[in-house]
Symmetry: C2
Subunit: 466 residues, 2 copies
């Protein structure tokens, strides 16, 4: 992919390279290993470290990295390896690594450390660079899911009365300290945000080096306050196609910068959260290690599923006479409930995504509902006929009536499932809850109960006059 980096894996782990490296680690061939590492991108080193089978081999390889590379690699590797390394490494070594990080990365990294290790590292940082450590302490004070929690302190602000030539000098002076640098913030004497200028605009404006930045800047700057929720920030970046955005305090003074890479992390996080909720657990599970903690996240969902399914117990019990007579009814229950649950989930998932991506509007709720109902009418007919035919073929007596019971109740419960699956995420969003909550196990359990109730009621009615 790159013409100059040898042995570059780019996202694919090369088994041979991995074996070679493992061998070199066992032989303690530091020089050879360092040679290999020098040719790799930081990310590719992290992939190799993650794919080594043995924790200690991985830690040994990591210890060969210089502090600068280590500071990037440790942010990229998997959570459990990072935890293992930070336990093994001395507080001093960790401090050296952290001091190479940008303030937002240092903050993320430190917030995952145990309390006493965090204090030790911060103490060391105080000695290494007082300014840096104070920035990190400030960032640690914000809620990690807000603008303050994801922003960096490295940004370049220029005074609105500076000339373009002076602004260029300022950029040249600060450039090395600032990562992901695409825009300048323009501020007044009190550091209050006045405008924004892209580097592209700055370069173009160098043709009039004496113009003031306030004459050139874009006054329509989109910004957030430190307390803004990260999910809203991601939406703002997506909606206005931003790559970086200033963060201000309550007096509109610039205090930090959020960049697109932070936002992509937020998107990944929110996505994991949605998927986890659809499956009846929590994305926290991806971070937690103890089975007890994971069980604690999952059990509430299962318990609620259990409660909802309790209704099925009573519905089935109350139809015991009919079931004793025709045990094939019991045999068809799993089909009816699985198919209705699945249909409801299909509608729900599509509506959740439609609302999320802005392709469906709550204010025009009847449009998706209309479309879903017309869809489930078709699906209900097809599946109803298929299941009805199965019922006809498998039953011993009353073949027609039995087949009809199965077909009709399948048709009805598929359509109910479609309607509920469509409107419940909408209601959920309208009430301010996460719509993904309604396309999870509760949805399925609820459709289960409805499917079985419809099935047993319809078939009791149709078959009881035999």
């Amino acid at each position: 992919m790159s013409p100059d980096k040898k042995n570059k894996s780019v996202l694919e782990v090369d088994d041979e390279l991995l074996e070679d490296i493992t061998e070199l680690i066992h032989d303690r061939s530091d020089a050879a290993l360092k040679n290999i590492l020098a040719d790799l991108y930081d990310f590719d080193i992290s992939v190799i470290i993650d794919n080594l089978k043995d924790d200690d081999d991985a830690c040994y390889l990591f210890s060969l990295l210089n502090d600068d590379t280590a500071s990037e690699v440790i942010l990229e590797i998997s959570d459990d390896r990072r935890e293992y390394f930070t336990e093994k490494l001395s507080g001093e070594k960790i401090s050296d690594i952290v001091s190479e990080m940008y303030s937002d990365d240092a903050t993320d990294f430190l917030s995952d450390l145990e309390e006493d290790k965090q204090e030790e590292v911060l103490g060391n940082l105080d000695k290494l660079d007082k300014d840096d450590s104070e920035e990190v302490r400030e960032l640690l004070s914000y809620d990690e899911n807000t603008a303050g929690g994801i922003m960096a302190k490295e940004y370049v602000a220029v005074n609105e009365n500076m000339t373009i030539a002076e602004a260029v000098k300022e950029v040249q002076l600060r450039a090395e300290d600032v990562d992901q640098f695409y825009n300048l913030w323009v501020v007044d004497d009190s550091n209050v945000l006045k405008g924004i200028m892209s580097l592209k605009r700055l370069i173009v404006s160098m043709q009039t080096p004496d113009a003031l930045t306030k004459e050139i800047m874009n006054e329509d700057v989109i910004y957030v306050e430190a307390g803004t929720d990260q999910e809203e920030i991601a939406k703002i970046f997506r909606s206005y196609d931003l790559v970086s955005m200033p963060v201000v305090d309550s007096n509109q003074r610039v205090i930090g910068k959020i960049t697109i890479d932070d936002v992509m992390d937020v998107m990944e996080e929110e996505y994991s959260e949605d998927v986890a909720r659809m499956a009846g657990t929590d994305a926290e599970e991806l971070e937690k290690k103890s089975p007890f903690e994971i069980a604690k996240l999952r059990l509430p969902w299962l318990m609620i599923t259990l409660l909802i399914e309790m209704f099925a117990v009573f519905v089935v019990s109350s139809h015991d006479e009919m079931l004793e007579k025709i045990i094939l009814l019991a045999a068809f229950m799993p089909i009816i409930s699985a198919i209705s649950g699945n249909t409801g989930l299909q509608s729900a998932a599509i509506v959740v995504r439609g609302l999320d991506t802005g392709n469906m509007m709550l204010k025009r709720w009847w449009e998706p509902l209309n479309r879903q109902i017309r869809t489930t009418l078709i699906i209900g007919t097809v599946i109803g006929l298929a299941v009805g035919l199965m019922g006809y073929l498998l039953s011993d007596a009353n073949k027609v009536r039995f087949g009809l019971s199965v077909a009709v109740s399948m048709f009805i419960s598929i359509n109910i499932a479609g309607i509920i699956g469509t409107i419940s995420p909408m209601i959920s969003k309208r009430l301010g809850f996460d719509p993904a909550l309604t396309s999870g196990p509760f949805e399925t359990a609820f459709q289960d109960v409805i499917g079985i109730t419809v099935f047993l009621t319809v078939s009791t009615y149709l078959l009881s006059h035999v």
Copy 2:
């Protein structure tokens, strides 16, 4: 949010504003409407247009926009409104709007049009700007899910032998034509990619204006060929924290540029695809309008679910004697199958996300498996006891044996579900399939059948000696 834009909604639709605008549309108060529109960001206009109840009102408001704004807004609005507008608008008006777009946006937009409308617009574009229309025709020839399909033709490349001062001139000359502009590609005389230079680096290097770009550029440029799949591109951007990347042909000559906003669209798309698959449908459904087309996407999933559930019919039928004796067994079937299905889904969803985010390594497969098994042992014990107690309380005779049957089979099927839920996405990934496929309805149906089989087998054994 912005100090200067009045009436700015930023992601929230203001009901009052919406009513005012609707009224002004009905009064045909063009001047007042244009006044309101002038104060809004493009994205906010798209939100208003999407939230107007009536298609024709929305179309009327859209027609008041100038071509430049319209070219941004039409890309942001929902698919159905866009389709409605393009049907209503003349080919000429559409051509004017498209001619304001960047090449990648124009291509996306045109590829959604009907064949004959697309030809008409391209014909008009030929007259407006031959170069533009040729670029679009080229882009339309690539598969829309590849680098070629998402790249733009607007990029700035400088020759490796240009001086920094000359490169600055080139940027000043080209800046207005190029959106999302953060990096220069450095090429040789044959347009072969040699390196990359960020605008930040360019500004810093202006201190040595006579240096050649090849002395300053970064040779380690990450690039893709036109045929590279968009999912891989998104991974590359994420892994190497890129904001833009050159696209080359098979001879390494630069042919286009991919920017981070394209990549975020890809991420959203892939995410929709995953969620849709987990629910047993396809993300295409978000685009398709006809219920017949949607039903065609969904029915295969439901049919396979049906086939898997057929096994349940036979399992239940073959236990008819025991079920006739103790009909409460049938009443507990829905609980057993719902809880096992849900447990399997929990494990599967977490493993799918873990593999996706790089927090779980296929080469270290035993680690998640070990963690999941220890978790389901706990969950199986807790839920098994709860369900067992319910069974004990609800049964009339053989209370202990019945409770025990329910508890033991719940425990066993939860643990089987956990193991299958964990390894099936791994096997799926190992074989090169999308792991999300294995955490959908098949998973749940499969766990259903296993749960019911275990339950009826265990309880027949425990209860048959009464």
